[in-house]
Structures are given as structure tokens and as C-alpha cells.
């Protein structure tokens, strides 16, 4: 498994493509900014959203039971799954029980997390992703590179090639409208033929037992309305107390995710339609553990908007496939660390800690702060890596003692001034690979300051202080 650093370096080799990817996502961030600016109460909405999440997650058993009771009263059958494996088994059992062989599936990051599609395919069920981007990557045999825009890394000519191969569109066709129309026809057939629909859930309302789903394409609704069997899968953290709370989250979600005031369709389903069996699978899969982490529990507030991915300068320039976890980017990092600290530790270092993610998060998760706290866990567990640890320990030693600090400074300054630039500004040194080393001043700050003070007739006195450069 390659580290983020290596995968990102590979991604950046195609410079033009990397710039295109960066621009495409920055554009979404800009749309988000404009939308946010149009809502005068934006920052207070974020505070309320976080407060609702804090309350809901602090009382999860209560609200889950309330949700379950109301949903069941409407005719939905509710299941609980401890982990991914159980989630997959339950879904398969439901499908087999109705002899469903073809599933029209609508986007669900939870199902990606659980590896549902692969599991179902292995067990004789054909799964057709109906979200256009998900269908594109499904046909391409790839995994999503973004939680809201799964195929953001794929260019239209490439979509054309994929559709030419699988949908029979004309070779070389790359017009997005024509390609979308082709997908509409192709997927319409699947919707009509499917025996079951599966979708994720954006919000589950405890007060009424309603399942709320947001889409732009209308695919989730065809999937949950046409077949006689519908399965909604959700993480435990999706439940919110009241219908009214939707007003807060829905106002934040689409604006944050894609810069739209609301998605084209916001579906409220309270039980199955007549003649349909509706199942809801509620999944833990590690979420209860996240909630028990004092420093890290806020990661569970996430409403999967993807704004943090769009705003991350590193994500934009490395792409979702440079991250080894199913969810990439900032939120992916703090979720991955719960999943497996050792396996995903490189993700924690794939950040400049700029804090933009925290600033855009609609539920005010302190993402960049959690990233640096996770780094501490990596170090304490001994996973940092010998080279990095040695370098930093040496630096600490040098800095703990003022004498060593000054000696170190003198050494670096002197060496870098004496040796010719090409010794360091070359491809072999990590720093010098792509940039020149900093110019070194002749004297340390201390020396300068001493000389300066001596020159003046009234040297500066005690009082206010200054921490200088050395």
C-alpha cells in the first residue's frame, strides 16, 4: 500500500490534470462561499447544527429507539448491525428473502465503507449504481474519489470512452448532455427492471420515523418507489431529534456540499409505499467507539457534505485516490484513524494544518485540530518511522538548551554560507529537490540585537518582551 506522499507525487506528475482537478474543486468551494454569504445567519446556523448533533449523539439510544418505534409503526422493518459484516449479511438476507437479483442502488458512503456491492455481487446479486457519478466509476472499475462528487477525477472524454464501451454510445462522444441522456435511458431500464432498491439516508427523524434523502438526479426516488422492496441503510449517527431540525441541516447541507440552496429532491419517507416492504438497517461499525473518544468524538457530527474535501489544498492537488481510506480528505483522515491507526497513519501527515476544513464544516468539527492530535497518537504508538523520529528528537535536544540552539544556528548558517549552493539545491536532498534553500543571514538574531543595543545610547529596558528570530 503506497503512502499518500507517494501517491500524491504520482498524481502531480500529470501537471495539467492536477491543475484541472484543483480548479474544478476550488470552483465548488467558491460556489459554497457565495451560498453561505447569502444566508445572514450562516455562522449561527453552524453553531445550532453542532448543538443539535451534540444533543442527539449524547442521547443516541433514546433517539434511535424513538425513531425505530415510529418507523415500525409506519410499517418499516428495522434492523441493527454491529459491524460491516453483519450489515452485509442482513441486506443479503432481505434480498434473498424476496428473490431479488437486481438492485437499483443509490449512493451510500456507508455501503462503500462496508463493501456491500462486492459482497452482494459475490453472492449472486447484481447491483447497479444509479447515481450518475457512481455508475461511471462502477463501469470503470474504480472506487469513488470524493464523497459527494465520486467521479470528479474523470474527464468527459474518459466518460465518453467508458460509455462507448459499456453503453454503446458513439466513439469519441464527450458532450456531457448527450452522455447524460444515454445514461438516463440506460439506467431507466434498470430502474424498471430492478426487484429492489437500496439507498443511504441523509437524516433519520426520531420524532416521526421519517427517512430523509437528498439527491439532484431523482435516482434515489426511482429506486425507493418502483421496486416492491426497498432497503435504507444508515449509520447510527444519522438520527436527529425533530422534524424541525431538518430546517437547520437542510439549509447547511447542499450549500456546503455543492453550492446549491437545496438539492433538487429532498425526500421524506415515512414507511413503505402500499404494496412495498421497506427495511431500515441501522449500523454501528465503530461509531460507538468514536463517540467514546474525548478528543475525537466530534468526527461523528459529520453530515457528509464534502466541503472539507473541496477546501483542502492538499486534497485538491492529490485527489481522493491518494488516500487509502474509503473516505478521503480531511474528514476521511480523522475517520480512518479510528478504523486503523497503523494502516492509515500516512493520512494524518497529509495536511498542512491550514484549518480551512474546520472553517467550512457546517457542524463545526475541529478537523485540523483532531488531525494534529492523531499525529500524537501515531507517535506514542511508535508508528512515526525512524527517520522522522530521529530528526525531530535531535531538533528537540538542540532546542531545549539555549547553548545548543545557538550552536546549531551558527552551524547551519555557517555551513550553508560556506558551501556552494549546488550542494543543497539539487534533486538528492528532500528540501533542495524543488526549491532553493533559504538564504542565511551572516549573524544570528542575538548577535544583531546585541550589536544594535550597544550602538544605542539608551539600550532597551525591561518591560514588554519580544521573541525574536535566531
Amino acid at each position: 500500500m503506497k503512502s499518500h506522499a507517494r501517491l500524491a507525487a504520482g498524481f502531480l506528475k500529470q501537471e495539467e490534470r492536477a491543475h484541472w482537478h484543483d480548479q474544478a474543486l476550488w470552483y465548488v468551494r467558491e460556489k459554497r462561499d457565495r451560498m453561505a454569504a447569502s444566508v445572514p445567519d450562516w455562522e449561527r446556523l453552524r453553531d445550532t447544527a453542532q448543538a443539535i448533533k451534540r444533543h442527539a449523539l449524547a442521547n443516541l439510544p433514546h433517539y434511535l429507539e424513538e425513531f425505530e418505534g415510529n418507523a415500525a409503526a409506519r410499517g418499516a422493518i428495522v434492523h441493527y448491525a454491529l459491524d460491516a459484516a453483519e450489515h452485509n449479511r442482513i441486506v443479503l438476507e432481505i434480498l434473498k428473502g424476496r428473490n431479488a437479483r437486481l438492485v437499483a442502488k443509490s449512493k451510500s458512503m456507508l455501503s462503500e465503507e462496508c463493501g456491500l456491492n462486492e459482497y452482494l455481487e459475490r453472492n449472486g446479486v447484481q447491483v447497479v449504481e444509479t447515481d450518475l457519478a457512481e455508475r461511471i466509476i462502477q463501469l470503470a472499475g474504480e472506487r469513488p474519489s470524493h464523497i459527494v462528487l465520486p467521479s470528479i477525477h474523470i474527464r468527459k472524454e474518459e466518460v465518453g470512452d467508458i460509455f462507448h464501451e459499456h453503453l454503446g454510445t458513439e466513439k469519441g462522444e464527450s458532450d456531457p448532455t448527450r452522455l447524460t441522456r444515454a445514461a438516463r435511458t440506460h439506467l431507466r431500464e434498470r430502474f424498471l427492471a430492478a426487484q429492489a432498491g437500496i439507498s443511504g439516508v441523509n437524516f433519520a427523524v426520531a420524532e416521526t420515523g421519517a427517512v430523509v434523502i437528498c439527491t439532484n438526479e431523482g435516482n434515489a426516488d426511482l429506486g425507493n418507489s418502483l421496486p416492491d422492496l426497498y432497503i435504507a441503510v444508515m449509520g447510527v449517527e444519522k438520527v436527529i431529534p425533530k422534524t424541525r431540525d431538518l430546517s437547520v441541516f437542510l439549509r447547511l447541507l447542499s450549500r456546503s456540499a455543492t453550492g446549491q440552496p437545496i438539492s433538487a429532491y429532498t425526500s421524506h419517507l415515512l414507511g413503505p409505499r402500499p404494496g412495498q416492504a421497506m427495511h431500515i438497517v441501522i449500523v454501528d461499525n465503530g461509531r460507538s467507539e468514536i463517540l467514546q473518544r474525548e478528543r475525537f468524538h466530534r468526527a461523528a457530527f459529520c453530515i457528509r457534505c464534502g466541503a472539507c474535501l473541496n477546501t483542502c489544498p492538499v486534497y485538491r492537488r492529490s485527489g481522493g485516490h491518494s488516500y487509502n481510506y474509503v473516505i478521503p480528505g480531511p474528514i476521511g483522515t480523522i475517520l480512518a484513524m479510528h478504523r486503523d491507526l497503523k494502516k492509515f497513519k500516512d493520512m494524518a501527515y497529509a495536511s498542512t494544518l491550514c484549518g480551512s476544513c474546520t472553517a467550512v464544516c457546517p457542524v463545526k468539527i475541529d478537523i485540523h485540530r483532531q488531525i494534529v492530535l492523531w499525529r500524537n497518537d501515531v507517535v506514542e504508538a511508535g508508528y512515526l518511522g525512524r527517520a522522522k523520529s530521529a530528526a525531530l528528537k535531535t531538533a528537540t535536544l538542540g532546542m531545549k538548551s539555549t547553548r545548543f540552539f545557538r550552536m546549531g544556528g551558527w552551524t547551519v548558517r555557517t555551513i550553508l554560507r560556506i558551501l556552494p549552493p549546488f550542494v543543497f539545491n539539487n534533486r538528492l536532498t528532500i528540501w533542495g529537490k524543488s526549491r532553493d534553500l533559504p538564504r542565511m543571514p551572516a549573524r544570528s538574531f542575538r548577535a544583531e540585537f546585541r550589536a544594535y543595543s550597544r550602538r544605542k545610547t539608551n539600550p532597551p529596558e525591561l518591560g514588554a518582551k519580544k521573541e525574536g528570530r535566531s
Binding site: L353, V379, E448, A464, K466
Partner: protein, 232 residues
């Protein structure tokens, strides 16, 4: 040294405690909290007796104000600690918030790009982050710069994107770090900037390394240098 001269010109009585070393940020950012805590402890001991601590670095100041509580578990409840944390200021915010110096009566007739370094911007509130909806607010650093006669602050499409330095990130994810930095430089160049100014030397050094490697004509200056040079 620019900070020294500037503070003097503004009539501030100050001292440079010679025992100081580093705030511990490199260690902290790498996750070596125990090492960072040792340096934080040293810094605390060196600086705790002063009325104010002024620092010409947004990131170092941010380290003290945002994370020292985490590192100095034992000290964090004490009066001296609370005083240190609440009285450690970055240079520009010290000028504006404490010295009440909002304008600098001087000229700097150049085209300048303000690079809003991340820690100072989002952590300390030195500017208005583009992510947030804060109507009516203007940035502190921007205000100081705008008061200089003749200055033209050129704007770019991305008013506060990171420079890509990120401390050890620049070494361990060098490719991404440089790519981000080059994007920043290109934006400033295309906006017509002669000078890139910031309140954080680390960002400026990172950008300068790329500028010189690519032989660009931009100049980097720390805000203290501009303010000091401008004030007679």
C-alpha cells in the same frame, strides 16, 4: 531586527530574553507532544514574568494561544500560565489591539500581495477568513498595510489559500508542498505583485525558495520589515 526597530520607534519598552529557543511548533505539528511540551515548558519559564509577549510570527503565537493548554497540563490552571497565553500577541495584533496603532504614517509605493498565513488568519483572527460569513469585518494586517501611502494591495482569486509549507509537511510531502507554493506564486505574479508580504517567516521562506529556484522577480518581505522600513 525589523521588529526590534519598529517597536522602538513606536516607543515600546522591551527586552529580548536571551534564553529563549523555540515554541515547540515543529515537534507539536509532527505529533511529538512530549518533546513539544519540554520546549513549551522552557518558553513558559523564560517568558512568564513579562507583561506582554510580542512575536513576529502568526504560527508561533498561535502555538502558544491555541495549544499550550494542551501541552502544559500541570501549569494550565495557574495564573501565570493564563497570563502568558492571554498576553502573547503577534506583532500586528499587538500594534492594533494593544498599542492602538491602526495607521502607519508612512509611504510604501509598491504593488503588494498580502499572503494571509493560515495560523494567524484562522487561529488568531488577523484577517477575515474567506470561508466565514462575517459581514462588516476587516482584517487587522490589511488595515495596517492599507494605511501606508502609495501602497497597492493586489487581489487574487484565492485570498487565503495555504502556501503549502506546513512545517515537516514541506519535507515529507515535498511534491504537494511545492506544487501548492508554486500555485500561490503564480497567482501573486499574475495579479501584478512586486512584493509578497506576510506575518509568518516560514511561509515567506518556503515561497522564497521556490521564487529563487524558478528565478521569479518577486520579493518576499515580512510585514515588520515593511512597517519598519516605512516608518522613519
Amino acid at each position: 531586527m525589523a521588529t526590534v526597530r519598529l517597536l522602538e520607534k513606536l516607543g515600546v519598552a522591551f527586552e529580548f530574553p536571551k534564553d529563549q529557543t523555540c515554541c515547540g511548533q515543529p515537534q507539536f505539528n509532527s505529533g511529538c507532544f512530549r518533546d513539544a511540551a519540554k520546549l513549551a515548558g522552557k518558553m513558559f519559564r523564560v517568558f512568564k514574568d513579562f507583561d506582554w509577549v510580542v512575536c513576529p510570527s502568526g504560527s508561533c503565537t498561535g502555538m502558544v494561544r491555541e495549544y499550550y493548554e494542551l501541552l502544559l497540563e500541570r501549569e494550565k490552571g495557574g495564573e501565570e500560565f493564563k497570563h502568558l497565553v492571554s498576553h502573547t500577541f503577534e506583532l500586528c495584533e499587538f500594534l492594533i489591539d494593544i498599542l492602538k496603532v491602526e495607521t502607519i504614517d508612512a509611504s510604501f509605493p509598491h504593488k503588494v500581495s498580502l499572503h494571509q498565513s493560515c495560523h494567524g488568519l484562522r487561529g488568531l483572527g488577523l484577517g477575515v477568513p474567506s470561508e466565514q460569513v462575517l459581514p462588516g469585518r476587516t482584517g487587522k494586517v490589511r488595515r495596517l498595510l492599507e494605511s501606508l501611502r502609495g501602497i497597492e494591495i493586489v487581489t487574487t482569486g484565492r485570498s487565503d489559500e495555504c502556501c503549502g509549507f506546513g512545517g515537516t509537511f514541506s519535507v515529507f510531502e515535498g511534491a504537494v508542498s511545492s506544487f501548492i507554493g508554486r500555485d500561490r506564486i503564480r497567482d501573486y505574479e499574475q495579479a501584478g505583485a512586486e512584493v509578497i508580504v506576510s506575518y509568518d517567516m516560514s511561509c515567506l521562506m518556503h515561497l522564497d525558495g521556490l521564487i529563487r529556484r524558478d528565478k521569479k522577480l518577486l520579493r518576499i518581505m515580512h510585514i515588520a520589515e515593511i512597517l519598519d522600513g516605512a516608518v522613519a
